[in-house]
């Protein structure tokens, strides 16, 4: 899967090149970082880069959004994955005619708000999925008719699995 991180509003590609214990090699944009990165307390990371020590405290704002508290300033970081790109593209008006709803992450179905054959309006939530203790609502972008509901409430689901398909 390919990822980007949105840092204070700007998207940059990110890729883990290697990892062994705390040591991690990562590509951000065109820069490569060799790091010793450790979660020393819940949500608190110590990052060593070229000997320099950075202490970061992470506060998750949602599933993929973090506020990173450095000593100097707070940095807003959003993880951009396939789902985010899809969501964005829909927001952007250039709507893909997707055939189904899926989640990018493993989780559990909390609530299904539609039935097979039901007509739903654009913007309506059709399913709520919980992952990592946070719930996300998945909406349709335009008016659709529900074809199949492939999961039921309480189901554990893997990522990128069709959950609800459309006519």
């Amino acid at each position: 899967m390919s990822y980007e991180v949105n840092i204070n509003g700007e998207d940059r590609e990110i890729e883990i090149l290697g990892r062994e214990g705390n040591r991690i090699k990562i590509l951000l944009g065109d820069k490569t970082y060799d790091l010793d990165l450790m979660e020393v307390e819940p949500g608190v990371y110590s990052v060593l880069w070229q000997g320099k020590n950075f202490n970061f405290e992470l506060t998750p704002q949602s599933l993929k959004k973090y506020t990173v508290d450095t000593i100097a300033e707070k940095i807003e970081v959003e993880i951009v994955d396939a789902e985010s790109r899809y969501m964005r593209s829909r927001k952007g008006g250039e709507e893909e005619d997707v055939a189904f709803i899926s989640t990018p992450m493993p989780g559990q179905v909390v609530k299904i708000l539609v039935k097979e054959g039901q007509q739903v309006k654009g913007g309506e939530t059709v399913i709520i999925v919980s992952a990592m203790k946070m719930e996300s609502e998945y909406k349709v972008v335009k008016d659709r008719v529900i074809k199949e509901v492939l999961v039921k409430e309480g189901d554990n689901i893997e990522g990128d699995q069709p959950l609800i398909t459309f006519e």
Partner: protein, 503 residues
């Protein structure tokens, strides 16, 4: 001899008082509201009693209930801390009636000092300087001009019926006296239909300097030198230090003498504080007396070496003061900052909530008065102060360096705090040089807002850290697939192994 003390308070000051009780072998009785069952002061006391719902007027301000608990528990004294009932003359009187020692002054001292006009008159009679000004409204123009010349420039002319700045004139030059008074009077007449004015000495660069005093029940009174409390935000002290960077030995001695005279004028017994407004030239005027322990009392303790709560208890026991004035001296320099759960970027809004974890700063010269712990939820009902961080240093620069270090290693997660704001104060050149007045925070708003930026690499690393956290947690959340290990990349295996070893 006092054997058991009820502490009619909560938070850090309740624990502060209990500390001295423990050290003196005195039993302590806590009281707590519904919001405070899991507060540290309850666990810290020998006994603890429930006194009512969370709002303080139904609990910590409930005199009947507190007296009832004191009797039930057999407490022979009550320490009110600061705030709540600490300056309540009725409470002091009531304790007396019930035969319970109130650790604080009697109703007479509280009442006299509690009323601004009575206090002013009492101080004038005792020879303590007060801000020069008229006590009666003046209508006559000549009388006004005469009064201004008596008081001396600069003065503030205020409409006696006024408010909101209308009918107010600052007079700084002699040639402006007549025109200013006339302008103020006609403005007052137009606005309020009354052209009477008050005249008061205007203090140009005001400093808030206060003197700690201790007085026993036998007429002995000493002072424990000054505290400089000019770093204020909306009249709330933010940073306090002692000695004051603008003080001289001569003025200190004179102010100390006046502070003692002020206390003696109301037959004071206990610990108290005389607040003075002081200008750049060290002209000083009595502002008010706080007839209780102050929030900022620790800096005096650090520099003078006297445990003020212990002395309060000794005095309440009827003992004579353990110190003479000549026994006392100032040793080094102390600074206190008040750490609040507040959002300093958002108009200092209180930010109560659950503290996920807290690392207190430790080590040489650091004193910490607090009541919170990791996992504690700061109640919404009371003052959102988390702790008082006090440092001592051999010199003022050493103390400032130490405070910066301490603030840097003070970590609280879960609530927003004033720590970064306090840290910026330590960096403002005017603070470092000791050149500041009560306008300090107002005058340095920009500097105090300015945040350091991360370096480009620091931003990159912050983003990488968030990404790694996301990926790691996601891997950990993935349920093992049915065919077991085969689907697991070495990378995933690492993630899982780490998760396990963390448990």
């Amino acid at each position: 001899m006092i054997k058991k003390i009820l502490i009619a308070n909560r938070g850090e000051i309740a624990i502060r008082v209990m500390n001295s009780c423990h050290e003196m072998g005195i039993q302590s009785v806590a009281v707590y509201s519904e919001a405070d069952r899991n507060s540290l002061h309850v666990r810290y006391a020998d006994e603890a009693y429930f006194i009512g719902p969370a709002p303080s007027n139904q609990s910590y301000l409930n005199i009947e209930k507190i007296i009832e608990v004191a009797k039930k528990s057999g407490a022979d004294a009550i320490h009110p801390g600061y705030g709540f009932l600490s300056e309540n003359a009725d409470f002091s009187e009531r304790c007396k009636e019930e035969g319970i020692i109130f650790i604080g002054p009697d109703a007479y001292a509280i009442n006299t000092m509690g009323d601004k006009i009575t206090a002013r008159k009492t101080m004038l009679a005792a020879g303590v300087p007060v801000v020069p000004g008229t006590t009666e409204p003046i209508v006559d123009l000549d009388a006004a001009v005469r009064t201004i010349k008596e008081i001396g420039l600069p003065v503030m002319v205020k409409a006696s019926a006024g408010g909101g700045g209308k009918g107010m004139r600052l007079v700084e030059k002699e040639e402006d006296i007549l025109s200013s008074v006339q302008a103020a009077k006609s403005e007052a007449l137009a606005a309020f239909g009354n052209d009477a004015v008050y005249i008061e000495k205007y203090i140009n660069s005001p400093h808030h300097i206060e003197f700690q005093i201790l007085a026993d029940q036998h007429g002995n009174c000493i002072h424990l030198f000054e505290r400089e409390c000019s770093v204020q935000r909306r009249h709330q002290k933010v940073v306090e230090e002692t000695p004051s960077p603008i003080m001289t030995p001569e003025v200190r001695e004179e102010m100390g003498r006046h502070a003692v005279a002020a206390a003696k004028a109301v037959n004071y017994a206990g610990a108290g504080t005389i607040e003075f407004i002081t200008d750049d030239n060290l002209n000083y005027y009595f502002l008010e007396m706080n007839t209780r322990l102050q929030v900022e009392h620790p800096i005096t303790e650090q520099v003078v070496g006297v445990d003020l709560v212990r002395e309060q208890i000794n005095i309440a026991n009827g003992e004579k003061l353990h110190y003479r004035q000549e026994d006392l001296s100032q040793h080094g320099h102390a600074i206190e900052v008040r750490v609040y759960a507040e959002d300093t970027d958002n108009n200092f809004m209180p930010n109560p909530g659950k503290i996920n974890y807290i690392h207190f700063p430790l080590g040489a010269g650091v004193r910490h008065d607090s009541y919170v712990y990791s996992g504690f939820e700061i109640p919404i009902y009371y003052d959102p102060m988390i702790s008082k961080l006090v440092v001592w240093g051999n010199s003022r620069p050493e103390a400032i360096g130490r405070m910066k270090r301490a603030l840097q290693s003070y970590k609280i997660s879960g609530v927003k705090t004033s720590i970064p704001f306090l840290s910026r104060i330590m960096d403002v050149p005017d603070f470092k040089n000791g050149h500041y007045t009560t306008h300090f925070i107002q005058n340095h708003q920009e500097a105090l807002k300015t945040k350091e930026n991360c370096s480009e690499e620091c931003v990159d690393l912050a983003a990488i850290t968030a990404f790694v956290d996301f990926i790691t947690k996601r891997e950990q959340a993935t349920p093992p697939s049915s065919n077991g290990r085969s689907s697991m990349s070495p990378w995933k295996a690492f993630g899982r192994k780490k998760a396990v070893s963390r448990i």
